[in-house]
């Protein structure tokens, strides 16, 4: 176990190095002088010089990389060129919105996906099973931004049931504590704010959660089907237990293990899915910020956010892998 952990951590360092080189390298590959590109053709030589110094562009490239890395290790990702905000502080300020969205999505996926899978498995080949599996198959293959646009179209434009984007209505004021709107509103006993936040969260969470929901439903179904054929399920039935308790207490518990793994693996994907969801729904998280920065050509933000998302992604995947080896001892450590 110890050797496995060390091996994985070493691999993690290598991957992170590769990722940082990639991010750093690509931003440097942009043709032309980044300072000129950013400030536009009519910028004064003075302001160009200021941006060049600020970005460290007048130093040799390996030195730029070393500075970038050593600053990043100390949590300093530079400052936005256009607005002068420290990138790290802004990421921390915007990240709760992304977390809220991802949590909403994963809760939706679990709450709907697991029961769908269980019922499909019990009523195998019924119309319910066939239609929910077709929905699941379609759900897995539909792009997030497509689904998001359709949800906005149906529920916001045609039916006017829910808002089409943002976290709160445009003129709502509130004092952030944790920057998680739903949690803050509960802490402040503000039910109206809570409902408003919830209404805004529903469509983006549906859009982001549908793919994981479909994957979870399919996984639960096949895992349940496997377990329902086992001897101990037959034993439970033979001793006269009610079908309900056979399913929930005996079958489900054993069927959930692979499902938990799948849920874990979805977390990383939710993060990259959040980039698109936030863009479609004008959700003020780090994904939306990244896309805006790309249009504005604000390189330090692009660099900083990309690096952060990649690091979070890699670390979450590692944690899931390690947890999995604890949960399922059959996983071989030497591979």
């Amino acid at each position: 176990m110890g050797r496995y952990l060390i091996k994985r951590l070493l691999a993690l360092v290598l991957v992170l190095l590769g990722v940082s080189l990639l991010v750093f390298g690509f931003v440097r590959l942009i043709p032309g002088d980044p300072a000129v590109v950013m400030l536009g053709e009519r910028a004064t030589p003075d302001s160009i010089e200021r941006v060049r110094t600020q970005l460290g562009l007048n130093k040799p490239i390996y030195e730029q990389y070393l500075i970038f890395i050593s600053n990043a290790l100390r949590g300093d990702l530079g400052t936005s060129v256009l607005r002068g905000e420290p990138v790290t502080r802004e990421i921390l300020r915007r990240f709760p919105a992304t977390i809220e969205l991802a949590l909403g999505a994963i809760i939706f996926a679990i709450v709907l996906g697991i029961p769908l899978g269980i019922i499909s498995a019990i009523k195998r080949n019924s119309w319910f099973d066939v239609s929910s599996m077709i929905v699941a198959l379609t759900g897995v293959s539909m792009p997030i931004f497509w689904l998001g646009l359709m949800l906005i179209f149906l529920f916001a434009v045609i039916l006017h049931w829910l808002p089409s984007g943002a976290r709160l209505d445009a003129n709502t004021q509130y004092e952030p504590i944790t920057n998680l709107v739903l949690l803050d509103s509960l802490l402040q006993f503000n039910l109206a704010l809570f409902m408003e936040g919830l209404r805004h969260l529903i469509l983006p969470a549906l859009a982001l959660g549908t793919i994981p929901m479909a994957i979870i439903a399919r996984m639960t179904r096949s895992s349940m089907l496997e377990v329902l054929n086992q001897d101990y399920v037959r034993t439970a039935r033979a001793k006269g237990l009610k079908e309900r308790s056979v399913i929930l207490r005996h079958a489900l518990r054993n069927a959930l293990l692979p499902v938990i793994t799948i849920v874990g693996l979805q977390v990383g994907l939710l993060l990259s899915g959040a980039i698109l969801t936030e863009t479609v729904f004008s959700w003020p998280g780090i994904g939306r910020w990244l896309v805006d920065a790309i249009y504005a050509r604000d390189y330090p933000i692009v660099q900083g956010v990309t690096l952060s998302i990649a690091v979070i992604f890699v670390v979450i995947n590692l944690i899931v892998d390690i947890l999995y080896t604890f949960v399922d001892p059959r996983v071989r450590f030497d591979t």
Binding site: A11, L14, V15, G18, V19, L22, V23, F26, V27, L29, I30, P31, G32, R124, M133, I134, L137, T138, V140, S141, M142, P143, F145, W146, L149, M150, I152, F153, V157, I158, S164, R218, S222, L225, E226, G268, L269, L271, S272, I275, L276, T279, V280, L290, V291, I294, Y295, V302, T306, I309, A310, F313, V314, N317
Partner: protein
């Protein structure tokens, strides 16, 4: 007793002689034909190919022609709720017109070509690369195998979308991004990420059969490694390769649409003689900006993307059931 046994053997003999042996492929095609969802998918895919190839002949208008004074015309058939501008639709624009009066239907048909090319060209490239490297790594093991697996680890530990966004962002304005409307750059980015999945499947399948007796037999009569890989291993691992290719095609189409939607896709051509005029991703982006007043602009490309992705997915799912009967009903 004796008579029944003879009769039984007789009918068995008869069955064996009257029913010709079927190859795996004939067998799989038989199963695929019975799968209604897969046949529906196949029909959608064929329709899509037809539309993309014969697009210029089918499109009623020049997709780039600006019709003055006819901007944002709703389709004639559109319900009241779509129409907030009180403009009256023109029957010659079946799906209405966009912000500068271009025919949405014709643009949609031309957009299919981008999706088709993105579905086909990188797929050929990554399949060839994935098969050769996967075979080599799986068969010979050692350094190459190690390298492949480490590279795979790195690719899998980085979110795809982020990679595409960074690459397209950085290289869009370079000469690479200008080449063929940015198509070469897009192909390259898609290929770098996607060949790995195929290589991994090929490697795994190769590992699982390279110790089998028939390979050993081939080796013992002195067959060269290259011939073993080409003639003995490859034909036996075609099923998993076909399945993963079928599933990677819709992923490529979606990625192109996503990048187009983010404004990072291909550069649209300026004349309808050019191959690429617009893509479904850009049409979706144009549709979203007009979602409140001109929703018809969004619906066309949205339905088109959905149908094509659904077609490939159902076909892929059906192929998996057909080529690997053990998988049936477990998906």
């Amino acid at each position: 007793m004796a008579t029944t046994a003879t009769a039984g053997r007789h009918s068995l003999d008869q069955a064996l002689t009257t029913k010709p042996p079927q190859s795996l492929w004939v067998d799989a095609w038989g199963r695929l034909k019975k799968n209604r969802a897969a046949m529906f998918g196949l029909a959608l895919v064929i329709g899509f190919f037809f539309l993309a190839i014969f697009g210029p002949m089918l499109a009623p208008h020049d997709p780039l022609k600006i019709n003055d004074g006819k901007s944002f015309l709703p389709p004639v058939w559109s319900p009241e709720i779509f129409n907030s501008t009180n403009k009256v639709g023109d029957p010659q624009f079946f799906l209405g017109t966009d912000s500068i009066g271009r025919d949405v239907f014709s643009r949609l048909i031309y957009g299919a070509r981008v999706s088709l090319v993105v579905a086909v060209v990188p797929t050929i490239f990554i399949t060839a690369l994935g098969i050769s490297l996967g075979l080599l790594a799986g068969y010979s093991g050692g350094m190459l195998d190690n390298l492949l697996m480490r590279f795979t680890d790195i690719v899998y530990s980085f979110p795809d979308l982020l990679f595409f966004v960074v690459v397209m962002f950085a290289l869009r304005d370079s000469f690479l991004g200008d080449w063929a409307n940015g198509l070469i750059l897009l192909f390259g980015a898609l290929a770098i990420v996607n060949w790995v999945g195929i290589a991994r499947v090929v490697r795994g399948s190769t590992l699982s059969i390279k110790e089998k007796e028939f390979i050993e037999a081939a080796r013992s009569i002195g067959t060269r490694d290259q011939a073993i890989m080409q003639r003995h291993i490859l034909p036996n691992i075609l099923s998993p390769i076909i399945i993963i290719v079928a599933f990677s095609v819709p992923r490529l189409i979606i990625t192109e649409a996503v990048l187009g939607y983010l404004g990072l896709g291909l550069r649209p051509g300026t004349s309808s003689q050019e191959f690429f005029v617009t893509s479904w991703g850009s049409l979706l982006l144009e549709g979203q900006t007009a979602i409140n007043a001109q929703p018809w602009m969004l619906l066309g490309p949205a339905i088109a993307v959905a149908l094509v992705v659904m077609g490939f997915t159902f076909l892929g799912d059906g192929l998996r059931d057909a080529l690997d009967p053990r998988m049936k009903g477990t998906g």
